[in-house]
């Protein structure tokens, strides 16, 4: 039986967000400001690709129409992707990349902490596994935010600018969703009601140390990952990421 239901959508939201964020990190290959940072970003990206695969495999089993993790990653169109708007945003400079990483890590960290106690054993297992990796990611990105925010005049300015560029997309990290409420009421996942507050608390804490100002709460606008209404950047990213499998279906080496 094909189950493209709310839980499947939720799994895709997790898988897609990890994969698209990882794809953006890959763009730094050969261009990072220092070798250590390049290794750091590639390692984080690799963790996220692995996590995406775990979520996709579960989603594919539920969809159960012959699809698999590769097909979900490489053969779906833009409107079918459920990743956060935040992660599809261009890398910009290192400040934008790190701020994006930090917002995402904090969201993942608190979300996975809740999900590791899910009644759905598969979700709990993937979350517990991923959380170990994400704990490292968050530690690293928090340190960078502090270092750049509380660094030189220029690095501070660039951080303020980065926050300015990215902040409006963070509404998705703190919004309440009826789907997730329904999922938690049906018992598949724990209640995520605490998530927005936990995310804000982490941002407040790190920004305070970084001498950065936390902007006012972002408001919703017409784009939304939940309905596949993405910013113009995702299509371009997918064109590159999916090229090989689209041009040479089932190519392998």
């Amino acid at each position: 039986m094909t189950k493209y239901d709310e839980l499947t959508e939720f799994l895709l939201r997790l898988g897609d967000s990890s994969l698209i964020h990882a794809q953006r990190l890959c763009e730094w290959t050969g261009r990072a400001p220092a070798l250590e940072e390049e290794m750091g970003m590639m390692n984080v990206g690799l963790d996220l690709v692995g996590q995406a695969r775990n979520w996709y495999e579960y989603a594919a089993e539920r969809i159960n129409d012959g699809t698999d993790a590769d097909a979900l990653a490489f053969r779906r169109d833009e409107r079918a992707f459920r990743n956060l708007l935040l992660v599809e945003q261009p890398n910009g400079d290192f400040a934008v990349t790190m701020t994006k990483q930090f917002f995402f890590d904090a969201w993942q960290f608190h979300l996975l902490t809740l999900l590791k106690d899910a009644k759905d054993e598969r979700i709990a297992a993937i979350a517990a596994k991923s959380l170990k990796e994400v704990t490292y990611h968050l530690r690293r990105s928090s340190q960078w935010v502090e270092r750049l925010g509380d660094g030189t005049e220029e690095s501070h300015q660039r951080m303020e600018k980065a926050i300015d560029v990215l902040w409006r997309f963070t509404f998705e990290l703190v919004e309440k969703s009826d789907t997730e409420l329904a999922l938690s009421e049906s018992g598949s996942i724990p209640a995520l009601t605490e998530l927005p507050e936990q995310w804000r608390a982490t941002v407040n804490e790190v920004f305070a140390k970084a001498t950065l100002t936390v902007p006012d709460a972002p408001s919703t606008f017409y784009l939304s990952a939940r309905t596949g209404m993405h910013s113009e950047h995702l299509g371009i990213l997918l064109a590159e990421m999916q090229f090989l499998q689209r041009a040479y279906p089932d190519a392998s080496w």
Partner: protein, 177 residues
């Protein structure tokens, strides 16, 4: 399901015993991690179960990191080594839960890492030590405690890069997760 199980009988299936399991463990002691070729899959603690089921050997492994590119290679190496040791169609199954922790690396594994020049994980993997990240790592070359972290991430996902302030050698540290 083994090939041929559907219609014909599984000609190569047989019943296994304690000696088979022991032999399998001996074989697994010799299957090395491709990235750190001095530690075996047993040293790493990624083999979670070895048993006999439906006429064949079953080995359950858990991945170290979600995106570890060595995972599939390791699974193939295990299958090949067991096949070579005479097991027909050994099965390697993946299990995520409970998630792998560096606490499962054996004493022998830790010693081998150190001898290879990689500092073994320090302390336990509890959440607090992960978040604070305060660890004192001993230099595998000279044994000094006076070391500093150069980079959170090293040559592979499981390591970070350190430097010894006494002997000035850089070294890999096997991260605690």
């Amino acid at each position: 399901m083994q090939a041929g199980e559907l219609i014909t009988t599984d000609q190569q299936g047989r019943s296994g015993n304690e000696a088979d399991i022991q032999l399998a463990y001996d074989v697994l002691e010799e299957v090395m991690d491709p990235e750190v070729p001095v530690v075996s899959v047993m040293d790493l603690g990624i083999v979670r179960d070895v048993s006999w089921a439906n006429g064949h050997l079953n080995v359950v492994v858990t991945p170290t990191y979600s995106g570890c590119p060595a995972t599939e290679y390791i699974e193939t190496s295990i299958r090949d080594a067991l096949h070579e040791a005479g097991f027909s169609h050994p099965k390697v199954l993946q299990r995520l839960d409970p998630a792998w922790t560096t606490d499962w690396i054996t004493e022998q594994g830790r010693n081998r890492l150190k001898a290879y020049g990689i500092a073994p994980p320090v302390g336990s993997s509890n959440k607090r030590s992960l978040l604070s990240g305060v660890t004192q790592v001993e230099c595998p070359n000279c044994g000094s405690d006076d070391t500093e972290q150069l980079s959170e991430f090293g040559s592979t996902a499981c390591k970070s890069l350190y430097r010894c302030k006494s002997c000035l050698e850089p070294f890999d540290y096997f991260k605690c997760i």
